[in-house]
Amino acid sequence: MSGKTVHVEFEGVNKSYDGRKLVVRDLNLRVEEGEFLTLLGPSGSGKTTCLMMLAGFEDPTGGVIRIFGDSVGKVPPRRRNIGMVFQNYALFPHLSVGENLAYPLEVRRIERAGVVERVRRALRLVRLEGFEGRRPGELSGGQQQRVAIARALVFEPRLVLMDEPLGALDRRLREEMQYEIRRIQRTLGVTVVYVTHDQQEAMAMSDRVAVFNRGRIEQVAPPEVLYEEPERGFVATFIGDNNLLFGRVLGVERDICEADTGTDVVKAFLVAPRGVGDRVTLAIRPERVALDPEPGRYSNEFEAQVDDIAFLGDHLRVRLTVCGSTDFVIKIANTVGHGAVLEDDRVRIGFTPLDCRALVPDEEREEG
């Protein structure tokens, strides 16, 4: 990570619209040049607000935003030279595709020939050659989205912001466009700050993902790290499926702790230092739990009762009562066919302490 230039930096940024509720709280975030960073989070968690502050349409209530090291607090949106793609495209309906793309160039007083050339290049980039003369109303949703992207890129900004640009498209088109956007970003090497509340989209496209929850960043990390090494319960459950168990630390040995969940003692990997008696949240992915393992293979082995089974084709989802949880889900590959387990069966499950992550409970940070 080091060695690259920091392109965008949020430092201690707060934002409140009404003077009472902070919708963005103490935000610290760095985006490197050429990086594809996604802001991911549930609705109302403050993603758009961050983007709007970066673009200059909203002022932070506190803190500093820097672009290439310079604070942009006093710079109006039009001088920030940031490309923006809006959820509903925001193409100018009274201008043709060509005129839409020429708009930022004309504002910058680029001479005629240069405009034509750049518009053509931008259209080629989004694979819409020959569409100059059409009105936005005469294009499909996907085509309009491509035009919007081309328009945000045609004046060669080094930073592009996209606020749920694929929200209005159907699933097939969305997947295709995810690929397209990624391709274009790689080709041009621009920095992209991308907003979505779709975790799959975030995982598929981003270099790093910043997970937002109630105005705070829970964790910033590459997708695979977020999945494998969530640092908070919120991240653990928001990205993919996870089982959460709640307990207190009985003993610690290097990175591994023993935690009492009330009914059982579970060995888990300590993500953050915890002492004896501290409360912890344990997170175990459903696909990392083995059903009826050879005895002694895992240091975590428990008796469980099967409450419910869902047949999902390539795998089964089995809901269990175990370790004080009545909602413990495991996923087993459908290698033996339907009927491997039955409801009300008593079974054994096992998992390694490395797959069971002991996290600081979310409530504790809220208080701090």
Partner: protein, 275 residues
């Protein structure tokens, strides 16, 4: 059966709506000074038809002066009403506008107040400040009566305007004035022009304030029509009426055409948070 009855009923209503207006047109070509179809006209006798009433009107200094008055008053009142109405609509469209409902009722009031009451009040007040029997007085009066139309039309257009477009323009490097001129104005212009046409039509058809406040110098086309219907009834009026019908159809066509163009702006479907 029921459906047939329904359609027949509606056809009758449409005839009721449109036929009386159309009847005037052929009668205005009557060669005789009558208000009804002569036998000659019905036989399509060329002699029974003539342009004499059009010639009479065109050659009549009073009608010409009336037309000039109507245009001068109408255009001035329209410009005034449009400028003030558009500014106000921009303010009213802002979500930050406090007391919106009250302001709106005040602004709309000239449209629903009986024009006789308005004209009486204007007569009292404008006489007391020396504006009765002046063009300026009538321009102000007509502008007041026309503003509600401008405000209603433009507010409706602005409500359909997607404010992300303005943000998009700013993000592409346009200053506020350039963004307004190149994006917002062209998109709301059809609404503004429609409103202006409504205001003009209102002034061009207004007779009560002219009756109360206008002197001999301010007689407008409807004022002459009024006199024509009340006093020296002559088919010349029908020639003027035909002209006015053509004019009304022109205005109506323009407004419809503008409406078709104005719908270009996409619905503001963004979540309230980003709006």
């Amino acid at each position: 059966m029921g459906r047939l009855l329904h359609v027949a009923f509606c056809a009758a209503v449409f005839v009721f709506l449109v036929a009386p207006i159309l009847v005037i047109v052929p009668l205005s070509f009557n060669a005789e000074p009558y208000f009804t179809f002569t036998d000659g006209m019905l036989r399509l006798d060329a002699d029974a038809w003539s342009l004499r009433w059009y010639e009479a009107v065109a050659g009549d200094g009073e009608w010409r002066r009336a037309l000039v008055n109507s245009l001068v008053i109408g255009v001035s009142a329209t410009v005034l009403a449009t400028v003030l109405g558009v500014l106000a609509a921009l303010g009213l469209a802002s979500p930050a506008m406090p007391g919106r409902a009250v302001v709106m009722s005040v602004v709309i009031s000239p449209m629903v107040t009986p024009v006789i009451v308005a004209a009486a009040g204007m007569f009292f007040f404008y006489s007391s400040i020396g504006l009765a029997q002046t063009h300026l007085g009538l321009i102000l009066a007509h502008a007041a009566l026309g503003t509600p139309f401008v405000v209603i039309t433009v507010t409706a257009t602005l409500a359909g305007f997607n404010h992300d477009l303005t943000r998009a323009a700013a993000s592409l490097g346009a200053g506020p004035w350039y963004a307004f001129r190149s994006v917002q104005l062209p998109l709301v212009l059809p609404g503004i022009v429609s409103g202006a046409l409504f205001a003009f039509a209102t002034s061009f058809d207004e007779v009560v304030t002219v009756l109360f406040m206008g002197g001999v110098e301010q007689r407008t086309v409807p004022r002459e029509m009024w006199a024509g219907v009340r006093e020296q009834i002559s088919p010349a009026i029908l020639a003027v009426a035909t002209f006015l019908i053509a004019f009304a159809l022109l205005l109506m066509g323009l407004v419809q055409w503008l409406r078709g163009r104005g719908s270009g702006s996409e619905p503001a479907a963004r979540d309230a948070a980003t709006a």
